[in-house]
Chain length 157, copies 2
DNA sequence: CACAACTTAGTTGTGCACAACTAGATTACA
DNA sequence: TGTAATCTAGTTGTGCACAACTAAGTTGTG
């Protein structure tokens, strides 16, 4: 009942492609977060920004961008929404008027308590032991690095 | 130089989270596809639809949706763009006027030749041998299934 | 048969991602 | 010192994803 060999890495079959698996897995995880984050009124990317700020408050937009690999085109409106929700403040730095410092409000800091309840759910949902989890995290990092390196050196043929 | 143990699966640290790794990897791969697909004038989701149609022509929107896990809210406008690009035709089925059949045009079928050149690039970019590739694909499928099952059974606590 | 329940696509509105661009501040250097 | 190059955020426009809804066709049941 095995399907015919259609040519290893060169196949155009949907199910053969790791990329599609990755894309599906990523959307599934985001979808789980949507449900888990609903009580906190956060989207997944907003949650990532909050994670970065809980880890270290008072970051510039640029610093958040390099932590999350997001540019200002994504971050600026997202941060505006977080500010409107009362979770952060945005203030131009006086010593360099180009940059904007993002600071947690009291409410933003307090939200962390609610967020603590999320990782256990995610851990349970993924159904992986610590060894597998670590191995997969490493594999993802490795994959990201390889793919980015290839893309940066890629010249249209 | 190892950071303090902050509590296994329950950590709120950005770098600890497999989810973030997954999210980053998925974006990196999409970004590579953006470069590779530029000569074909396709986005990655459009490419996925074309893959599905090359694999089996004449599918209903509903069938494409279940193959790609996308709903009509995403597919309808995407298919409209593919039609406008001359790659597919959309026609109401006469025996069931609710459903729309998607059919490749000659041009859409011909595009496959160009698409054949893409998987080798992706394979090279990922830098994985066949064993690792297969293992990872399986891990992704497993992860998607677990996470979706958890999400479907999840009731806000 | 009538009509309620369901099915299939499509539409609307929100929020990412990202490319391309702009505005304004800072730095470097001829 | 003046000005070109650079840097930081922000804006605009396109295209997903997805929730919530609508329209129209089909099916099931009393």
């Amino acid at each position: 009942m095995t399907s015919p060999d259609t040519g290893e890495t060169g196949s155009l079959l949907l199910d053969d492609q790791l990329c599609f698996g990755l894309y599906s897995a990523s959307r599934a995880v985001t979808s789980l977060y949507r449900a888990l984050l609903e009580p906190l009124d956060l989207t997944y990317p907003q949650y990532l920004v909050m994670l970065a700020l809980w880890q270290q408050d008072e970051q510039q937009v640029k610093e958040l961008g390099s932590a999350l690999n997001l540019d200002s085109g994504t971050l600026s409106p997202l941060l505006k929404r977080l500010e409107k929700a009362g979770l952060i403040k945005r203030e131009r730095q006086s010593d360099d008027e180009r940059s904007v410092r993002i600071r947690l409000t009291e409410e933003g800091t307090a939200l962390r308590a609610k967020a603590e309840r999320i990782p256990p759910h995610v851990g349970a949902a993924m159904n992986l032991n610590n060894t597998e989890l670590g191995r997969m995290r490493a594999a993802m990092d490795q994959l990201t690095a390889s793919v980015n390196a290839y893309r940066e050196s890629y010249r249209p043929s």
